[in-house]
């Protein structure tokens, strides 16, 4: 039922400025795909090209196997939710929801049926007569999603839809969009710069940087096996620790300590360890460096240590539960070699 999308060597240039450099990507039917990356990485541009709002400079866009490059936006079976919501301020919520259907000259009873159904799904029935300015941010967001739902599109596109909401609402709407995907089963593409949104919602994450795909895959695949330094640093919070490293006798040497990973580490220049994979208790891994504790954050469920190694590198440690660690004290760190990552001088993961 659901729709597949395929990008083949997709390129985008504004004059001489190339912003997307030949992207290949397959999105399976019904998949929830998240484009994530820092500002300017081209994720929104890519989405807008799929939507038909930006002309494609090179390559092919296929929807259900059919080339769509020259097909106008309205004929691609796509609905899009904008960051700004793009609601029409002079129309009521009902009129906003009905606009696309009226444009398609759908009979009035059918429009009413669809609007009612979307309003039920999104729990905005009491708001149908209001104007957008009388709604809260979260309610506007729902209307914007509703406007996409009523058209019963094959594909939903979301362009940073939650970035105008406060933190609490963002979490709530995140859950709702994920539920919506489960209920409707449509193919959805979601653009965000927030890796937490990406991790929690996606079937497939596509990490973009400077117009190329750094890595695409399931969230845990990216977390466990990042292909390079960029993906390793981008996925996961707090960020993965990166320590300058060298290789001695087949072992990785970093922060004055040699670490036997039990695999070939030839060419390693950087050691990467996630904060949550470091412990301060003996017996939970092999002993790594001694560090001085600079700052302790007690979050209740977790304790976060910010520390400095003997050779002056910063390192973050996340400990489960509530731990008592004195500021300025020296603690020994223990790591599981299987969860350590090593990267070569080009930033590529050594496996």
């Amino acid at each position: 039922m659901a729709t597949s999308i395929e990008l083949r060597r997709i390129q985008k240039a504004y004059g001489d400025v190339h912003v997307i450099h030949g992207v290949d990507l397959t999105i399976d039917p019904g998949e929830f795909t998240v484009f994530v990356g820092p500002s300017g990485c081209g994720k929104s541009t890519l989405l807008r090209m799929i939507a038909g709002l930006e002309p494609i400079t090179g390559g092919d866009l296929l929807i259900d196997g059919q080339r769509m490059n020259e097909v106008p936006a309205a004929k691609r079976g796509i609905a899009m939710v904008f960051q700004s919501y793009a609601l029409y301020p002079h129309m009521s919520v009902y009129q906003n929801l009905a606009f696309g259907l009226e444009t398609a000259r759908m009979p009035k009873p059918e429009i009413e049926k669809r609007v009612q159904r979307a309003a039920e799904i999104l729990k905005i029935e009491p708001l149908l007569k209001r104007k957008p300015k009388q709604l809260s941010g979260g309610q506007r967001q729902r209307v914007a999603i509703g406007r996409a739902i009523v058209r019963e599109p094959k594909i939903f596109l979301f362009d940073e839809p939650l970035s105008n909401l406060d933190a609490e609402l963002r979490v709530a709407m995140r859950v709702e969009i994920a539920k919506l995907h489960n209920d409707l089963g449509n193919t959805m593409i979601y653009v965000t710069h927030d890796q937490v949104e990406a991790m929690t919602m996606a079937d497939k994450i596509v990490v973009l940087r400077a117009g190329i795909i750094e890595q695409a895959g399931a969230p845990l695949e990216l977390y466990n096996n990042p292909r390079n330094l960029f993906v390793a640093g981008f996925i996961g919070s707090p960020k993965m620790n990166f320590l300058a490293a060298s290789v001695e006798n087949g072992m990785v040497k970093a922060a004055g300590t040699s670490l036997a990973l039990g695999r070939d580490v030839t060419g390693a220049t950087t050691l990467g360890i996630r904060p949550e994979h470091i412990s301060i208790s003996e017996g939970s891994g092999i002993k790594f460096a001694d560090v001085r504790v600079d700052l302790v954050e007690n979050l209740g469920g977790q304790t976060v240590l910010y520390a400095t190694t003997s050779d002056g590198q910063s390192i973050t440690v996340v400990l489960e539960g509530q731990r008592r660690v004195d500021l300025g004290s020296t603690v020994s760190l223990y790591v599981d070699p299987a969860k350590a990552h090593v990267f070569n001088a080009e930033g590529t993961t050594i496996t």
Binding site: A51, G52, L53, P72, A73, A74, K75, I78, A79, M80, F82, Q83, S84, A86, Y88, P89, H90, M91, F99, G100, T103, A104, K133, R147, R151
Partner: protein
């Protein structure tokens, strides 16, 4: 006890009051001094003449002899026994009703074209604005007379197609229309405001609409125009007031007569002739007050209806 309370109250207020006012004066005197020119101008040159004209509108006054109280005579004459008043009213209303919507539509049309993004936008913007700066001047009115005269530019162009045109300005059926065209030609100022308004409409509304398959035509009627209504409203009010007050073009083009056959006798021109042609200052004052009331009523009516068609964002 009571006496003590009284004295203790009296002492501070008795001493404080003069020093308080002296303090105010010393602190604020420079401010009032700076305001003085405005005060003199506002009361001496604005409020004073307005109230004087209100008084004069109830008198007969020829500038040479003292005003004679006339009660409602001037107003009664205006509405019962003055065909020229009726004619000038008719001319002015036709002018307002046609020139304002046509000018606004033209200004919006040009603004839409310029807003599509083109090279040298700022040059076009300046060029199109030029007529607004020049339009009310005597020179342009004289130029206009040449263009629409019997041997004027319009007829010369028509002649190349073998058409012999009339003298547009001396034909009572067309003379007013030359003035309406002149007014439309001065579309620059509302155009600039429309352009600024168009820039305010978020682009993603059009993108959302185009994803829905809305044609440019539908986008204009369903998004652009409603979003622009505050600007339309503002322009309509300003241009309507301007149109009611229009004087120079009709004065120059008709040679001050409002002819032919009163066909360009604008209300303000009639008022001017009554005042400075016939020295009927009392009657002219009454005319001025009627115009003020008409413009005020028109504006009030616009504001009352605005809540049904003007959409404010927030």
């Amino acid at each position: 006890m009571a006496t003590q309370v009284d004295t203790s109250n009296a002492t501070p207020t008795g001493v404080a009051a003069p020093s308080y006012w002296r303090g105010v004066w010393e602190n604020h005197a420079p401010g009032y001094l700076f305001l003085l020119p405005w005060f003199i101008g506002f009361f001496g040159l604005t409020i004073g003449p307005i109230l004087t004209s209100l008084y004069l509108s109830f008198t007969h006054f020829d500038l040479l002899t003292a005003p004679r109280w006339a009660g409602m005579d001037n107003y009664v004459r205006m509405f019962t026994n003055d065909p020229k008043f009726a004619a000038s009213m008719r001319v002015t209303f036709i002018f307002v009703i046609f020139s304002v919507p046509l000018k606004l539509a033209f200004a919006l049309g040009v603004a839409l074209l310029l807003n599509r993004g083109m090279r040298g936008l700022s040059i076009y913007r300046a060029l199109f604005y030029l007529p607004s700066l020049l339009g009310a001047s005597v020179a342009i009115a004289i130029l206009w007379r040449q263009i629409f005269a019997g041997n004027g530019l319009v007829n010369q162009v028509l002649a190349t197609f073998g058409i012999i045109g009339p003298s547009w300005i001396s034909n009572p059926n067309t003379s007013l229309w030359t003035l309406i065209i002149l007014a439309i030609w001065q579309f620059g100022s509302p155009m600039i405001i429309f352009l600024a308004g168009l820039r305010q409409i978020p682009q993603d509304m059009y993108e959302a609409a185009s994803l829905d398959g809305a044609s440019r035509w539908r986008q204009f009627w369903k998004i652009t125009l409603p979003m622009l209504t505050p600007v339309v409203f503002f322009n309509a009010i300003i241009q309507t007031i301007e149109a009611f007050k229009s004087f120079t073009p009709s004065f120059i083009i008709s040679g001050g007569t409002g002819g032919p056959i009163n066909s360009t006798l604008f209300y303000t021109l009639y008022l001017y002739n009554e005042a400075f042609g016939f020295f009927r200052m009392g009657y002219a004052s009454a005319l001025a007050w009627v115009l003020l009331i008409i413009v005020a009523a028109f504006t009030a009516f616009s504001f009352l209806t605005s809540k049904f068609w003007v959409h404010y964002d927030d």
